[in-house]
């Protein structure tokens, strides 16, 4: 495993981890932009723009773009979050340069009016689809409730109204501000030739002009509000809890990640034994969501509406017990084993490795080997997790529920 890096004169950073024994390679363009960087009137533009990049350039139509990826058997896609837009592909080594070149070309899209209007329909279908997916919808709504007026509460998809009201001109302006070379990194992992990779990116990207980019970076403890929405087509209670967490830069992120498994891993956690094993809730999980300068834990619980108050009593009991008594050495050991084995399995695939490689650079400006992450996870102590529990006060959280119109 060999790490490489290079910075072009316009600020574009290239990083790579070369693993000659891999059967494939993965490449990603990581753009530091997302819904937290949007003004209310253009809410949803980052995600919409992600779709528009696939619509081609001045010399490539949308169909030609899709054909170009498919001709090389690429598994490719993109995702947008509150703060990142990531375009990625995994391919066989012989196609890596072609696909890297293609992505680089697409980073300067045509953003045509007629494509914009057609894709609006698709975006609105995506919004409708997630409305019919309460497991997703409730987490999104709870995050928005938790962050209040903090920009991390902005919806990634936007609303049907904000998408309807958006113009292609507004999108072009947003693009010009955010897709600048000093706000993008290009990462590659797996079996590839670093020099040829660099040459491909440089040829396409060295003409990009840098300009200053900003982001509001404040932490926020959360509104700790409670809300519920009834829907006629729901028969289960879907509950999301959001706690204040620690940021992606915080050294306590390893302890936070272990804590989320101890409390809410799908199997063997406190949620599992107290709720799922006893069939009081059908699903109960907690995840750590580190962000730029802030962070959250979010929990998802699903049960009958009649059981909702009992579930919340038990959950509150779990959080209070954690505050009072902390975690045990045995719990930490089990959580550590889970993290370590997940790290090993995920990083065996170039695509799995790409995500950590890219995000470590985005958030920390540094390369971290798998071994360093393993060592950091192994080094976490019971006292570190317990002091995190006290610092975050797990007994206080924001709660959003989706369920039937008349609960219980």
């Amino acid at each position: 495993m060999r790490f490489e890096r290079k910075k072009l004169s316009n600020g574009l950073v290239l990083i790579g981890e070369v693993n000659p024994s891999a059967r494939s390679a993965a490449v990603g363009f990581f753009v530091r932009t997302g819904s937290r960087d949007e003004a209310p009137e253009i809410n949803g533009v980052s995600h919409f723009l992600e779709h528009m990049l696939f619509k081609g350039t001045d010399s490539l139509s949308a169909l030609e773009v899709n054909e170009a990826f498919d001709r090389r058997g690429a598994q490719f896609n993109a995702f947008t979050s509150e703060e990142n837009t990531v375009y990625y592909a995994s391919v066989l080594p012989e196609y890596l340069e072609d696909i890297t070149g293609l992505w680089a070309e697409l980073m300067r899209p045509a953003l045509r009016d007629d494509d914009f209007e057609m894709e609006k329909k698709v975006i609105k279908e995506e919004i409708a689809m997630y409305e019919d997916t309460p497991t997703f919808d409730v987490v999104d709504r709870c995050r928005t409730l938790h962050y209040g007026t903090h920009p991390c509460g902005n919806s990634v998809l936007g609303s049907a109204a904000s998408i309807d009201g958006m113009t292609a001109g507004q999108m072009r302006q947003y693009f010009a501000r955010r897709y600048v070379p000093n706000n993008i990194i290009v990462a590659c992992s797996g079996n590839f030739d670093w020099d040829r990779f660099c040459a491909t990116v440089e040829r396409r990207c060295e003409g990009w002009q840098p300009q200053p980019v900003d982001r509001l970076l404040t932490d926020f403890e959360g509104t700790r509000a409670t809300a519920r929405l009834g829907r006629p087509n729901l028969n289960r209670e879907h509950i999301c809890l959001v706690h204040a967490g620690v940021s992606a830069q915080d050294p306590r992120r390893f302890a936070a990640s272990l804590l989320s498994l101890i409390v809410g891993d799908d199997f063997g956690s406190r949620f599992y034994w107290d709720l799922v094993d006893k069939a009081i809730a059908e699903a109960a999980s907690m995840h750590f969501g580190p962000l730029d300068g802030t962070g959250i834990f979010y929990s998802y619980l699903r049960c009958s509406s009649a059981s909702a108050s009992r579930v919340m009593e038990i959950v509150n009991g779990i959080f209070h017990a954690l505050l009072r008594d902390g975690i045990s050495e045995e719990e930490l050991t089990k959580a550590r084993n889970k993290v370590l084995s997940a790290l090993v399995i995920k990083n065996e695939l170039p695509m799995g490795r790409l995500v950590d490689l890219g995000f470590n650079w985005m958030y920390l400006g540094q390369y971290r080997s798998v071994e360093e992450d393993v060592a950091a996870t192994k080094a976490v102590t019971v006292e570190e997790v317990n002091s995190l529990i006290r610092a975050l006060d797990l007994s206080r959280f924001t709660q959003y529920s989706l369920g039937p119109v008349s609960p219980g």
């Binding site: 498919d70 894709e119 279908e125 019919d132 059908e282 089990k334």
Partner: protein, 410 residues
């Protein structure tokens, strides 16, 4: 890269398969037990789902909590699934823990306590899971589609049916475990970093004493119907469409796989282009090949707002039918490259390989090498695919919709 398959058969018939992988520290294993949804007795739909939970609630020398803690301590990434034919339980983990994990899984399979007090929560979770499906129309529509497409009982819901689950008793379920957990008809697959001799020796000790039960195959009945609408006041109409295709064991298997890829392999494939790119009808649109040993089909999902549902369905069906009219050389090439690349990339994951070799053995009685699959994909041509499509044309479609509005079906 050198590829080989390890194989060993225990006296009772249990098949052990392995695929060693270089450069990995992980190992994945899977037990395929002939206790899938279709293998459950009539009136016990969902029993397999209950069993997959119940067998881990105490086994061997450990009670529920002790077994859970022991599994947890090994850092397993568990992957249990219920299919039509098999109940599969397995995990991916660091290779040094494989031996300990197999001991625990053998306990769950052969020496589960199956206690009454643990039956109730296992059954309750299955009931809740069925109820939760009503809130996830995207998943539910595909389960309802399979149920109606495949002849009874092959397409039975792998989650379960409320009425059956509510009447399911502990003794009845115990009897199902006794008669259906036929080790002699089970397949064990392992891939990644392992020592095959050591695995065989351990498996011989753990399972060699189990007698073969010779579970009979299930009789196959009729199909359930052409179009079903399930009302739901949601935002979209969720459309499931499925049509007959040659099964995995057919000489035309590779032709139908490549044809499905022309229809819906990548983003330049026909469904994505016609439904989403040209008409903006859907966000989620896609079709995939799905095969049991006895029958197979191509299943398609499309989700769209009510005003566009009729047009979406019509475009989807038209694209299925248009395939037999002709395929371009370029789109054929893209479909082939897509399938071959996906195959190689999946082969980097120990979990994917363990399930692939197990499923190959069940379907064909042998494991195909990656080279063989690549070669067979390469051998397909526009002619061979069109011949296959004309031999078995897409005439009949099973359709299920969930949402605020019905569609009209010819």
């Amino acid at each position: 890269m050198e590829q080989k398959t390890d194989q060993y058969v225990l006296d009772n018939g249990m098949v052990l398969l392995g695929e060693p992988m270089g450069g990995v520290e992980s190992v994945a294993f899977e037990f395929m037990l002939p206790a899938g949804a279709a293998m459950m007795p009539d009136g016990a739909c969902g029993a397999a789902n209950v069993i997959s939970d119940w067998i881990f609630r105490g086994a061997g020398d450990r009670d529920n909590r002790q077994l859970g803690d022991a599994l947890d301590g090994l850092g397993l990434q568990r992957s249990d699934s219920i299919g039509s034919s098999h109940l599969s339980i397995g995990a991916a983990l660091e290779s040094s823990n494989l031996r300990a994990a197999l001991e625990l899984y053998a306990d769950a399979i052969c020496r589960s306590h199956l206690r009454d007090e643990e039956f109730m929560p296992a059954r309750q979770l299955a009931i809740e899971e069925v109820l939760a499906l009503d809130d996830e129309p995207r998943q539910k529509v595909m389960l309802e589609l399979r149920k109606r497409f495949y002849p009874v009982p092959l397409g039975r819901s792998t989650v379960g049916e409320i009425e059956d689950l509510e009447h399911l008793g502990a003794e009845q379920t115990r009897e199902i475990v006794r008669t259906r957990f036929d080790v002699g008809q089970s397949i064990f697959a392992v891939a990644g970093k392992y020592v095959f001799d050591a695995v065989c020796e351990q498996m011989e000790r753990l399972f060699g004493g189990c007698e073969r039960l010779d579970v009979a195959a299930v009789p196959i009945g009729a199909r359930a119907g052409k179009y079903t609408h399930i009302p739901n006041e949601g935002s979209q109409v969720h459309i499931g469409v499925m049509t007959d295709a040659v099964p995995f064991t057919d000489k035309d298997y590779y032709n139908i796989r490549v044809a499905t890829s022309v229809l819906s392999g990548g983003m330049s494939a026909r469904l994505f282009t016609e439904v989403r790119e040209k008409r903006g009808l859907c966000y989620a649109i896609g079709a995939r090949y799905h095969s049991l040993k006895e029958a197979a089909g191509i299943m398609c999902y499309a989700g769209t707002t009510p005003d566009k549902a009729q047009e979406t369905l019509e475009v989807v069906i038209a694209e299925f039918r248009r395939l037999a009219d002709g395929i371009g050389e370029e789109e054929l090439e893209r479909a082939k490259v897509g399938l071959k690349s996906a195959l190689i990339m999946q082969s980097e994951s120990s979990g994917s390989r363990a399930s692939a070799i197990g499923s190959d053995y069940y379907m064909l009685g042998r494991v195909r090498s990656l080279d063989e699959i690549k070669k067979r994909i390469e051998e397909t041509s526009v002619d061979s695919i069109l011949k296959c499509l004309r031999r078995k044309p897409f005439n009949d479609f099973t359709i299920v919709t969930i949402g605020p509005r019905e569609v009209r079906v010819e």
